[in-house]
């Protein structure tokens, strides 16, 4: 087992990892930028090394600075958290060169799943259902119409250089194809300087349902069921829950099998998440795979009596997985609380937290790195806390979350608490009948 782990991250996830390390008797090293001097992860680690100025590029994203910190503290493993360098295969490569264990998959596994096209090809070869689409760029309207006819409408024309929803057009029938084709290409050229497009089947009323997997160094992969993350705004998750109100036992078994297959076909080591889109016909399609611990991992932990960080460290240290798949017991919901103003287009709201009281009591867990008097730095992402509730069933869980949100006192900065409060009272949300388009119709009062 590792003697000392350096956590190459900050905020709540750094604290999260430090907590588990302490329980396992492993020493911890925190790294921090000058902006994070008063951060909790620095306070609670056994050792702390200042690695740079506030800018992420010169601190948390700086491979050389982090490796230098490993050198002077003699850490034997690095936990990359999420974001920053967690899915950077070059960083994982450097760790291997220096004989430091990168707690996660190998550089090759990261690369394979990091490239969307390669990931899709790998899944196809493994027999995991993927979103049907053109193989690469589509060169002409004629070819486009032929492919679409084969796949079946509705289809979506997507810009290969695209992002943020630009250069995308949904086509419902063949007559509309050419017009949308022209528009998509025009927009793509204007926004990205590249009018290359490809075609995918458009998944109707998609739900974003992801499966947690764990793989050891001996080829064994298990799954820990799903998390429904359909409540998103601009592709950023706002709320996650387990189990998904949409899945049936049968679907869970099928998707779980596919997720394990995805892990097995690349000999995956570590924790990972296989993301699927599920359409209204309950057909599921592989979307992408994340090769790191995720923000919403507590949702899984709370319905399974599991410590995912501990499992992550164990497999990294060479321990074998001895259990089978995990199924949820009870219901858990997580609300991500961001320092943003929900009444002003979710504009970031950094500043000083004047007073702070987090909700407590039966079935409430709050993962946070902030406290009264903490100054939220403007240089990093705006998430400041995660409230996770667990209860016997979804209805009770929602009531508990409502109570927790009401109890949360956070003054000095704007937060998204009012948004989540209203969400808990929303009939569509309560019915469990929503998809990724939910937010578009949600109006904050």
């Amino acid at each position: 087992m590792f003697k000392k782990i350096l956590i190459a991250n900050r905020g709540e996830i750094a604290l999260r990892v430090i907590r588990t390390c302490k329980e396992m008797g492993i020493k911890t090293v925190a790294v921090y930028s000058t902006a994070d001097k008063e951060s909790l992860h620095v306070r609670f680690a056994d050792e702390a090394v200042c690695i740079g100025p506030p800018s992420s590029t010169e601190s948390y994203l700086s491979v050389s600075k982090i490796m230098a910190a490993v050198e002077i503290t003699n850490a034997d493993a690095i936990h990359p958290g999420y974001g920053f360098l967690a899915e950077n295969s070059d960083f994982a490569e450097v760790c291997t060169e220096y004989g430091i264990k990168f707690i996660g998959p190998s550089p090759a596994m990261i690369r394979k799943m990091g490239d969307k096209i390669t990931a899709k090809e790998t899944m196809v070869a493994a027999g995991v259902p993927v979103i049907p689409g053109s193989e690469g760029l589509v060169k002409s309207v004629k070819a486009g119409i032929a492919i679409s006819g084969d796949m079946g409408y509705p289809i979506i024309i997507k810009a290969t250089a695209g992002g943020g929803g630009k250069g995308m057009r949904i086509v419902w029938k063949e007559e509309d194809f050419e017009d949308n084709w022209d528009k998509a290409k025009q927009e793509s050229k204007a926004s990205f300087g590249n009018d290359g497009v490809y075609i995918e089947k458009y998944i109707e009323e998609p739900r974003h349902i992801e499966f947690q997997i764990l793989g050891d160094q001996y080829g064994k992969v298990i799954h820990m069921s799903e998390r429904d993350c359909s409540i998103q705004r601009r592709h950023q998750k706002l709320l996650e829950e387990c189990p998904s109100p949409f899945l049936t036992k049968k679907l869970r078994t099928e998707m779980g099998k596919a997720a394990v297959l995805a892990g097995e076909c690349i000999n995956y080591e570590g924790v990972g998440t296989v993301e699927f889109l599920v359409d209204k016909y309950k057909k599921f399609y592989f979307m992408e795979m994340n090769t790191r611990i995720q923000v919403e991992h507590p949702v899984t932990e709370e319905v399974m009596d599991l410590d995912l960080i501990k499992e992550q460290i164990k497999v990294a240290a060479g321990e074998k997985i001895t259990s089978g798949n995990y199924l949820p017991s009870g219901h858990a919901i997580e609300c991500r609380i961001n320092a943003e103003d929900p009444y002003n287009n979710f504009r970031p709201s950094p500043g000083n937290i004047q007073s702070f009281h987090s909700p407590k009591g039966h079935g409430i867990r709050v993962d946070t790195h902030v406290y009264a008097g903490y100054k939220i730095p403007p240089y990093y992402d705006s998430m400041i806390a995660k409230i996770i509730c667990r209860a016997r069933n979804r209805e009770d869980c929602i009531k508990k979350m409502q109570r927790a949100l009401d109890e949360f006192i956070l003054e000095g900065v704007k937060t998204t608490i009012p948004f989540h409060s209203q969400l808990m009272k929303n009939e569509e949300f309560k019915s469990g009948n929503f998809n990724t388009g939910f937010i578009n119709d949600f109006v904050l009062e």
Binding site: A30, F44, E47, V49, C50, S64, K65, M67, E71, I72
Partner: protein
Amino acid sequence: MMTTKEIKEIIALVKDSNLSELKIRKKDFEIAIKTDKYQKIQGIQATSVAMPAPMVSAPVPAAATPAAVTKEDTVEDENPTAGLLEVKSPIVGTFYRSSSPDKDAFVKVGDSINVGSVVCIVEAMKLFNEIESEVAGKIVKVMIEDSSPVEYDQVLFLVDPKG
């Protein structure tokens, strides 16, 4: 239970003695102090450099204060530093006073330096970085022991601009 003052005194004792390692164990308290003063530093071209840092491991219960590497044992009591400028480390690594063990230190107390003068080396991942001063004046104090780890922004030298 030892107080911080007592621990500091013990560290000073070890530093000034010929000891390279000292362990004290009481009923519910244990302290181990190690220095590397007798480990040889390899030349600059060598591929392995002795792992640095006087290590202080004191498993003190109650309030956990992170033992930020290097801070406790080498910094002397704070003098009034009014008017003095600081040369700070721009990177993380190991601080060396000279370019190799057999060479003289780049600077000593009393030396005058200019902007751009090389004042020390900070080594990280086998790369030996010459640190150039961004201030000019006279070296008043050397803040870090030779071959000690330093972090970003750590003060290496105090410089009197009027010197």
